[in-house]
Symmetry: C2
Subunit: 286 residues, 2 copies
């Protein structure tokens, strides 16, 4: 059963509209007059983090990627639950967890520890409070809107070979920063919004497909960390910039690069007028 079939099967059994969390990055639940945003991400050793990654960086990333999903909803964190597989460097894991929770004023609500040999796995559930409704998702783009991204892509990719240097690229990889404040400011202005976790092209295609519209990108307008490695920069993940659409006339409250336009009446992704085939490795699928 392929991953997409699995998700389709899950969607079929999800007896609630909030199940959009299965294809989107977060679930949205109305409760007690509030709109909650819930997201869960799992990190696997050797898959999402390097085999010998510092556990402090793993803890940071585990929480940060979930908070990034809240950022893309314009939600503010209520707290996180963390599932940790005990092992080497647990003191470092605790140190990194403390750092990321302090940095984003996010309470640790609870969690679970397990003990097992083999490949380690970590999980985090983040709970957020929506600051604006309707909560945006990847389906909200409208024809005629412009497509924006909040910052340069490819830093995390460059950071992998820049290991432990403390450079801006190294930190982008090891200590990604969820754009909570940016997301909060943007949310009243956007059509669709999501974070770029799996590469700009793949995430643009997902937004195009979910919205049922064409996304026409202009390469010259796309901000990247290294123009000589442009093709990689727009296909690599882990950057956690925010990708969103907004009316051309919108006065955006934060800096963002306008990288293309939403057009047409059916989903496509194009770069400089050339249609890209989704089968051609647009980004990182995991």
């Amino acid at each position: 059963m392929a991953e997409l079939d699995f998700v389709d099967a899950l969607k079929a059994i999800a007896n609630n509209p909030a199940a959009r969390g299965l294809e989107d990055d977060a679930a949205v639940v109305e409760i007690g007059g509030e709109t909650l945003v819930l997201t869960h991400d799992t990190l696997v050793q050797g898959v999402h983090v390097r085999e010998d990654e510092d556990p402090a960086d793993i803890a940071w990333k585990l929480v940060a990627v979930n908070l990034s999903d809240l950022a893309a909803k314009g939600a503010e964190p209520v707290g996180v639950l963390v599932s940790h597989m005990l092992g080497t460097g647990d003191d470092r894991f605790v140190a990194g967890l403390r750092e990321v929770l302090d940095e984003y004023s996010t309470p640790l609500l609870g969690g679970d520890t397990v003990r097992a040999d083999g490949r380690r796995v970590w999980g985090c559930t983040a709970i957020g409070r929506a600051t604006h409704t309707p909560v945006p998702d990847r389906r909200g783009a409208r024809s005629g809107e412009a497509i924006y991204v909040t910052g340069a892509l490819g830093r995390a990719m460059l950071g992998i070979s820049d290991r432990d240097s403390g450079s801006v690229n190294d930190l982008a990889y090891r200590r990604p920063r969820p754009l909570l404040t940016v997301g909060h400011k943007l949310v009243p202005h956007v059509g669709a919004m999501m974070d770029v976790s799996d590469g700009l092209l793949l995430d643009c295609w997902r937004m195009a497909r979910a919205s049922g519209l064409g996304f026409a990108l202009e390469s010259e307008a796309i901000p990247v960390a290294d123009r000589d490695r442009f093709d990689e920069c727009i296909r690599w993940g882990d950057d956690y910039q925010l990708l969103f659409t907004a009316p051309v006339s919108a006065e955006l409250p934060v800096p963002a690069a306008r990288i293309g336009m939403v057009e047409g009446a059916q989903p496509f992704l194009s770069l400089d007028g050339r249609i890209l085939d989704p089968k051609d490795g647009l980004g990182y699928r995991h």
Copy 2:
């Protein structure tokens, strides 16, 4: 770093009282005039489920153990997020997930899929709505209360050797039933409450320690599935009965066995008047 030190370290960094979820089985958060209960449990192949467990049973158990934590809070399910590591039998996993969600009218809100070789790991976060406040936890026992358990212990243990027979013991192991209705009815009456997931003795000791009181149990009063294997039945986990304390005069709305009394002014656990040493393998730690 041992598991308990790790949890202590997490508690030290948890900047919120709701962090009781770290030592308790669930976190409690007030939001929008509602009291939410959040719980996360992770299952590891070969540790919490058998190496060759039917993925349908794994999915059932994954959700059921989390709903059991809600039951122990008297909470009703709002929904679950499921993290699934793709692999063999994903169609069976989907089938089991559908069954357990239908059985307990619980929406699937979202989740995450990951792909990796090696030992498989599954995670579930359950969100519930408290039906009664304050929400009970393991700290609420009072001296002079009686100690109760809702049903026989040891069925899941017996079920392991009764494999796939469809017997009551086999089903207790493969398809544990979260006592949501029972927990809902009990919650206005209890002092402390928790589910018995790691063995009656160990969970009684945890409740005694958290409440700072002595728990004096009477072996004859403890309902077990097989009296010839009494010592094992009260040390084995996975039964998911509810353990609670209540005033002796309480008129309980559900059947429950009165198995002892809360007494003294400091934590201890005794069986038939003999003090048990917590170091002597009271149950299943994981």
